[in-house]
């Protein structure tokens, strides 16, 4: 099973939910897909066994063959190549590594160099023996999606995979969530939380991934998320009131389920609820 944890608004508690959920379950794998700012490792403190460099190809010019015809520049939709009378400029940061220039060069004068775009760290969280994968984007790389694509390839289908997504509702979030059987959206009961939740819901509806809500920093004087969920028939699966001791534990990199073992059951219940919802939806489809 694959469960993605996403949010729309940043800082609502994605990593808190994803890491604690992974730790509360048996036979789980945590995959950090927030490759721009991966934080799961700060809490899970995995033993890293392996670090794989992920590269992407960018064009390089073989000047013994190039006749400066300019075809490479014409086929590049990203404007990553400029051909001068006796030089070809390649802007690696604009190149999306599609390979069109290399293929269409009439002189066969382009070869591809593999440049690093990030690393994937692979390890184990002990003593629980939780699988750990983390994508970490090289600083200065502009596009996180290809690296996220490599991280999700590490999904172990026979286990419970928890994907920790990037905030927002754009390509990074979609690249992560589209692989999931179910998505948890973490929000907070403020106008910002609601606005960004609506965007995330819109994105999820487009890709038809079922989802439910976790309200973090829940408070009795604000019911805006409850009202929205009721109007739109979206299930609320869990609520966390603001708890200063939890926030302090978080600030030090301590995991909630280790500091407050009674929370473990809450996360197990959350998982069972998701499992039940998925089974029910499958039955509906079968029926």
């Amino acid at each position: 099973m694959i469960i993605a944890v996403a949010s729309g608004k940043g800082g609502t508690g994605k990593t808190t939910v994803a890491t604690n959920l992974a730790l509360a379950l048996q036979n789980s794998v945590y995959l950090d897909c927030d490759v721009e700012e991966p934080n799961g490792h700060l809490f899970l403190k995995p033993v890293v066994e392996k670090s794989e460099t992920v590269t992407r190809p960018v064009p390089r010019i073989n000047y013994t063959k190039c006749d400066f015809c300019g075809e490479c520049s014409r086929v590049c939709e990203s404007h990553a190549i400029t051909v001068l009378p006796n030089r070809v400029l390649v802007f690696d940061e604009l190149c999306n590594s599609c390979g069109a220039c290399t293929y269409f060069c009439p002189q066969n004068a382009i070869w591809e160099e593999k440049i690093p775009m990030g690393v994937i760290r692979i390890g184990k969280v002990l003593p629980e023996n939780i699988g750990f994968f983390e994508g970490c984007l090289t600083i200065g790389e502009l596009s996180p999606s290809p690296l996220i694509g490599k991280v999700v390839q590490k999904i172990e289908p026979e286990k419970i995979n928890i994907l920790d997504a990037a905030p927002g509702a754009s390509c990074s979030m979609i690249e992560t969530v589209r692989n999931a059987d179910y998505c948890l959206l973490i929000t907070e009961p403020t106008p910002f939380g609601l606005n960004d939740l609506e965007l995330a819901v819109e994105a999820l509806k487009n890709i038809e991934v079922p989802f439910g809500i976790v309200i973090n920093k829940a408070r009795s004087d604000s019911t805006i998320i409850d009202a929205y969920c009721e109007d739109n028939n979206i299930p609320i699966l869990m609520r966390f009131p603001f708890n200063r001791r939890l926030a302090e534990a978080y600030s030090k990199g301590e995991l909630a389920v280790r500091v407050f073992p009674e929370l473990k059951e809450q996360f197990q219940n959350l998982f069972n609820e998701i499992k039940l919802r998925l089974q029910t939806s499958v039955n509906v489809l079968d029926g």
């Binding site: 949010s7 729309g8 608004k9 940043g10 800082g11 609502t12 990593t15 721009e36 700012e37 934080n39 700060l42 809490f43 086929v75 939709e77 990203s78 999306n96 590594s97 599609c98 390979g99 069109a100 293929y103 269409f104 984007l137 600083i139 200065g140 790389e141 502009l142 596009s143 996180p144 999606s145 694509g149 905030p167 927002g168 509702a169 754009s170 390509c171 990074s172 979030m173 979609i174 589209r178 403020t190 106008p191 910002f192 606005n195 960004d196 965007l199 995330a200 819109e202 994105a203 487009n206 890709i207 408070r219 604000s222 200063r244 926030a247 302090e248 978080y250 600030s251 030090k252 990199g253």
Partner: protein
């Protein structure tokens, strides 16, 4: 004109709350919300939209089944794994056009696709530029550049003293686009292990742009030791510690009323933010300007 970009690395540290407060405390300003995939500043500014434009981020490939002979060449060469069973997945399609040029039957259309909207708005006597990316779309970096282009066009006709940019979280494409041409960066963080980690990555990115940067630590009393650690890191990295803001329930309360924290001037958060804003003005003040300047007296 001085362009101040408010940014954070980690999401949810208080970028928009702080940006809105700076806006309220300053005069003769222009504002751009560059968090285009989860824009929130408009909720506090309540602007009047004067013009809305459709944003075209790029093109998307689409196979015409009438013309397709199912040779499979496009699927073989697509590096984005966007073509399966002779259908292009519009979410995975990067718009590179490789398949379009490759197709021997000329069966792939390549049309521009809207990725969102951008707006020219006004609140009070200030211009406000913002956008909405269609949820799930890419090209947020290009949309940020579009928003900034629009803001800068207005600036040329209408010289403003301050240009505030509310930035997105992360360190990717839209963050890079938000940082271009900035005079000063305000990096907002919180005293947590992830706040520090994300700040360090953000600062490494900002160093490439060589923009002077100040750090604000929000909710500093959550973990005093971590606050000190962040302050030491900032000083070591040549950043200015602009100030710290304690956890203040009034921040949440004012947000629930869609109000800017400066509307509660006696709250501790509002007072600290005012001090931070004064520090920024002093830092960015041209040497020749006198200290009796109205902005500083305020």
């Amino acid at each position: 004109m001085k362009q101040v970009v408010i940014i954070s690395g980690k999401g949810g540290t208080g970028k928009t709350t702080l940006t809105a407060a700076f806006i309220a405390l300053s005069e003769n300003k222009l504002v751009a919300d560059c968090d285009v995939d989860a824009a929130d500043l408009h909720i506090l500014l309540n602007p009047v939209i004067h013009q809305s434009h459709v944003f075209i981020g790029g093109k998307k490939a689409k196979i015409d089944p009438q013309r397709c002979t199912e040779c499979g060449l496009c699927e073989t060469y697509c590096r984005f794994d966007a073509i399966h069973n002779f259908v292009v997945d519009p979410i995975a399609c990067e718009g590179c056009g490789f398949c379009v040029r490759l197709c021997p039957d000329d069966a792939i259309d390549f049309k521009v696709a809207p990725s969102g909207n951008y707006y020219e708005s006004v609140f009070g006597d200030s211009e406000f530029f913002h956008a909405k990316l269609i949820p799930g779309e890419g090209n947020s970096g290009k949309l940020v550049s579009q928003v900034k282009k629009q803001a800068e066009k207005t600036m040329r006709n209408n010289n403003r003293e301050w240009y505030f940019v509310d930035g997105p979280p992360g360190i990717g494409c839209p963050v890079n686009a938000s940082l271009t041409e900035a005079d000063f960066v305000v990096a907002v963080t919180e005293p947590t292990i992830s706040g520090l980690h994300d700040l360090e990555r953000l600062i490494k990115l900002i160093e490439r742009f060589k923009i002077p940067t100040g750090v604000v630590i929000n909710k500093h009393d959550l973990n005093q030791e971590m606050t000190q650690r962040i302050e030491r890191y900032a000083i070591k990295s040549g950043l200015t510690v602009l100030g710290t803001i304690p956890f203040d329930e009034q921040v949440v309360k004012s947000l629930l009323q869609k109000k800017i924290i400066t509307e509660f001037p006696d709250s501790i958060a509002a007072r600290e933010i005012k001090t931070i804003w004064t520090s920024i003005q002093l830092l960015l003040d041209e040497p020749k300007r006198s200290y009796t300047d109205k902005n500083i007296k305020n």
